[in-house]
Every structure is written in C-alpha cells, then in structure tokens.
C-alpha cells in the first residue's frame, strides 16, 4: 500500500452527550493510533467548528437515542443523500433491542454497537474506513487533478470531528463543493501541525 497517500481518517461522531463524545473520541484515537504518538495530538477535541474547510468523512458513528432525531433517522438521511451514502455509518445504543438492531442493519448501518463501547468493538471499524478511503483515493487518482503531490505520511492518525447534534443537522442541508477544493482539503487534512480541520457545513468533495 502506497505510503505516499494520506492515511488519516476522518470520523464524524454524533452524540448529544458530551461525556459520550469524549469517550468515543478517545476510543477512536486509541484504536487507530500507532505506537509513535508524537505527531498525534491526543488532546485534539473539537466540539465547535470554527472555520469552513472541506474534509472527507471516512466514517459516521452515531448514538441511536437523541432528542429530535434518532440515529436511525440520521442513517436514512445519509443513505438517501447522494453525497454521503457511501460513507459507512455505525450506530451505538445503550439498549439491546433486537428489532432496532436489525432495522438499522437493514437500512445500511455497517455495525451496531451496544454501549458501553469497548476498544475491541472499535478495531472492527478500521476495515470499513479503509474501504471507503481506498475507493476515494482511487477515484481521485483517475480525475484530472492527479498532479497534486501528496506528501509522505509516516503514521496513521485519526482526525475526529465531534459535532453536537444541532450542528450536524444544519450541515445535512448543504450540497457538496466542486472538486477544485480537493487539493486544499488534502493539504489541510494532512497537516500534522494541529490546526484541526473543522467545518460547519458538510461540503465533502466526492
């Protein structure tokens, strides 16, 4: 696998509980970090997006029970959206309701985790994220902008966008941006100088 391509993962975590967001953030960091964490900012937490930048999401992980909108509703929206339907969605719930679980899986959720989520659960996710990542990498390479030089990345790191629920809902309304912004997005995403890419619109380029 070419080490020249970016190997950062963007995970969108949706949960109305700050506590749960902190937990899932740490779980994600821990499950994907290599031994060398020097370039990885373990304190990077974002709950309020500041600047408008385009990023690609490799995974959406969402709570099921949320005020106003369930994880299932979010899943449906994602799957109905041309821009986002290829993004794997994982649903978490503290309640073990078999009919709920099968409904979510049928609707296209990749996994359904029972809370409390454990580290072992998270390691299942990497193949899902890699799958979409590789797909998108390949898509990019076949487009005209492939003279973009991609800097070498030595280690994996996970960038996690943690949005409180209402911001997630707002950003659902927006259309994807044009591909001319992709290069900018790539360069910003792989910067290990952690000015974390944040966004308040989902303007993911596909």
């Amino acid at each position: 696998m070419g080490r020249e391509t970016e190997s950062q993962f963007h995970v969108l975590a949706v949960d109305d509980s700050l506590f749960d967001r902190k937990m899932i953030e740490r779980l994600l960091q821990k499950s994907s970090c290599q031994a060398d964490e020097s370039s990885h900012d373990p304190n990077a937490t974002s709950t309020s997006p500041e600047t408008h930048q385009e990023v690609e999401i490799n995974l959406i992980i969402t709570d099921y029970c949320m005020p106003g909108m369930t994880g299932y509703d979010l899943l449906k929206k994602v799957k109905e959206s041309a821009a986002f339907k290829s993004i794997p969605v994982v649903i978490m719930s503290s309640e073990n309701v078999p009919s709920r679980i099968s409904r979510c899986l049928e609707e296209g959720a990749e996994e359904f985790f029972l809370k409390p989520v454990k580290l072992a659960d998270l390691t299942k996710l990497k193949p899902h994220m890699m799958k979409t990542k590789m797909k998108k990498e390949n898509e990019k390479l076949t487009k005209e902008e492939n003279e973009v030089s991609k800097p070498e990345i030595k280690e994996d790191s996970t960038v996690i966008e943690i949005l409180p629920l209402h911001q997630e809902l707002e950003s659902e309304q927006h259309e994807p941006m044009l591909s001319s912004n992709k290069r900018k997005a790539i360069e910003e995403v792989i910067s290990t100088d952690r000015s974390r890419p944040k966004y308040n619109d989902i303007t993911t380029s596909v």
Partner: protein
Amino acid sequence: MNTTIVAQLQRQFQDYIISLYQQGFLDNQFSELRKLQDEGTPDFVSEVVSLFFDDCAKLINNMSKSLERPENVDFKQVDSGVHQLKGSSSSVGARMVKNVCISFKECCDVQNREGCLRCLQQVDYEYKMLKTKLQDLFKLEQQILQAGGTIPQVDIN
C-alpha cells in the same frame, strides 16, 4: 527514587483498586476505561470520571425539580435523566450507580413518585460515595508518580 516507598505505594494502590471492584463500586468497564489511558493521555480517566460526576450532579438536580410537586411530575423528563445516568455510569464502570438507575427506571415506568424519590436519594448517595473513593485512588496514583514510580496495571479477571 526510593524503590521501597514506590513499591509500598504501588501495593496500596493495587489493594485499594481491587477492593473497589470486590465491594462492587466498580465493574469491568472501569478497567476498559483505564486501558484507554496512556502516556500521551495520563489524565484521561480522571477527566472522564470528573465529567461523569458533573453529569450526575446536573441530572440529579434536574430530576429533583421534576419530582418536586406531587401533582405535577414530569416523568418523561425523569426517565430521560435516568436513561442518561444509566448510560454514563455504565460507560464509566460505576456499578452501584448503574444498579440504582435500573430500579429508578422501573419506578419511573410505573410513575411511582415515592419510589423515584427514594432512588434519587440513593443515586445521589452512591455517586458521591464513588467520587470520594476515586479521589482517594487518584491521589494514590499521584503519589506513585511523584515518587518516580509507574501506575500498576491491575487485572481483575
């Protein structure tokens, strides 16, 4: 580094944390939590635990208000609070708190105000008790680190 002192402190730590598991204050999820902490994130557990206790105080306060007037109890709100409390206590490994939440939910489901009030009181007691215990545990951790030692891994299986 005085190795005897460190060894003593480590022993104390180990005994203390094991007793917390044995007495049922903590369950396996707490050790899952400890696994997430490493040299890069040495305060993770204490931060998360602190968030949890803040949550407890807030939720208990809100539920108390909802239960205040017998003729006008907002059981939906109470149920939502219990749900959140159960979720976070379960994520943290706060076993006693979680168990009270189970009874609490049952009282809520049948709209038993008296039962809810009892559970509320109990959950308040339990989280505060756990808070004290964990504060002592974290103090021991700090003492070990200050004496130049490392925090022991503790397997409770």
